[in-house]
Symmetry: C2
Subunit: 273 residues, 2 copies
């Protein structure tokens, strides 16, 4: 969920002049419940690690993946966009079938594969990221949705939440809503969307921006929960935002309810699919 400026070590891979790149763009889905987030960690299951293991079985070598969003442990994705460069050309359908085979009905599934040209970069070309946060407002603990939503016991005041959410829309210094480990150069981000909808006990927060700070969505949802249960008013949200201080944060919602929904790109031009 961070948006770092590329350091040289993380810059897009560039092939030798003589080696053509075989770049593939994929849309993937994952259940983050048992995963340690996006980023590769030795000995621990991560989304990047599982993808790279499966790809090594296909290609016989390590191929590094890049993602539009580097989600935390416990966060899920319905439409994460990633890319990878493979050492030779494979038909996209073959890549799709082979990788899903090697992913062996685990927590990561590949929804689609397209061949793209090397100007495409899942992280640096991404112009809009959308998340959904799923809260369940009921007294009974979750069973079927365990790890897939955040259960809160209090009844939520949707009108109050929607009013407070307006405070966050637009361009702001979101330091209060930023994890201290966040590596983004600037705490200033532009929040394009924060809509709240309800369906029975289910409350959905639909959030979109060009990019987010680390923990920004969870921190915004955590504070909106305080508003929904009447502990905070809209003026408290204003004060938290204006404080530009992590200490002013009301609450950080758990990762369970967070889903990376989709990533948009300026020019989406698959060369083959």
């Amino acid at each position: 969920m961070t948006d770092k400026t590329p350091s040289p070590a993380e810059a897009p891979d560039v092939a030798d002049d003589n080696t053509p790149l075989h770049r593939y763009r994929m849309v993937i889905e994952y259940d983050g419940t048992e995963l340690y987030g996006w980023q590769f960690q030795p000995e621990l299951p991560t989304v990047q690690g599982l993808l790279e293991d499966a790809t090594q079985k296909l290609c016989g070598q390590l191929c590094r993946y890049q993602a539009a969003g580097r989600t935390d442990a416990g966060v899920h994705a319905l439409g994460m966009v990633v890319h990878v460069d493979l050492p030779k050309h494979y038909g996209p359908f073959k890549v799709w079938e082979a990788l899903n085979f090697f992913l062996m009905d685990g927590p990561v599934s590949i929804l689609s594969v397209d061949k793209v040209d090397e100007s495409f970069h899942a992280r640096f070309s991404c112009t809009r990221r959308a998340y959904c946060y799923h809260m369940v407002s009921r007294r009974a603990p979750l069973s079927i949705l365990r790890g897939k939503a955040w259960q809160v016991k209090a009844r939520m005041n949707l009108d109050a939440m929607r009013d407070a959410a307006k405070v966050l829309i637009g361009t702001h210094d979101f330091t209060t809503f930023r994890n201290t480990e966040c590596q983004s150069k600037s705490p200033v981000k532009t929040l394009d969307q924060l809509d709240i909808s309800q369906d029975g006990d289910n409350i959905y927060f639909h959030v979109a921006a060009r990019s987010f700070l680390h923990h920004q969505v969870r921190s915004m949802v955590g504070c909106l929960w305080l508003v929904g249960r009447g502990k905070w008013q809209t003026r408290d949200m204003v004060a938290a935002l204006e404080a530009r201080d992590r200490q002013a944060l009301g609450y950080n919602a758990p990762p369970d309810g967070l889903y990376f929904l989709s990533a948009d790109f300026d020019s989406e031009t698959p060369t083959e699919s």
Copy 2:
């Protein structure tokens, strides 16, 4: 999912003349993925076993549960109705809170508790059971819905499925759609509803009847899958039904996609809630 006529050993518990019954009706939800079905089995996690363990922690003694539907391993419930007799009076809210506490955020959650009089029986008073079967028609394996739906690769012809489903509506001898271990006295059942709806890749089978044979819903869905992918026509469904022979079954769908939705009772008169 079976509907047995009560044998003496399974007849509703009757208290001594001097002991008033404290009967509680509960609506529960469960994630059947890791459970071995409804029925108690020593050393294995089952819905009945987990409920009885939690209740023993509250009451200090074994209290036997009865359910409207005795689901198989891997089957889920969104609104299963059960009842239990407790050795003394507790307020329903206290029972609710205590049992959810002792169920410890596991796969079973209690949605509501009402005190009822002893004429109520979750199994024998039930007049209508509703299930939903969730099929996902897509090429990519499931990740977030692993164990919670049945993924089929073929595109489904909904019109053909709906046409063939009509064959099953009404009163029939459903021997073909009955597991050989089914203990129901008669294979004749009346199917009130079998509606099929679609939302993107998701296909939902909404099924209702007074009672079902063991595996009946899964067997009907399995045969409709053959119709949806063009392997069977409506006339094959007619032939299967008329055969009254388990050997004529086309396919038995896996438990993953099956959800017990709700149970209806003739007179629902909680005495306290």
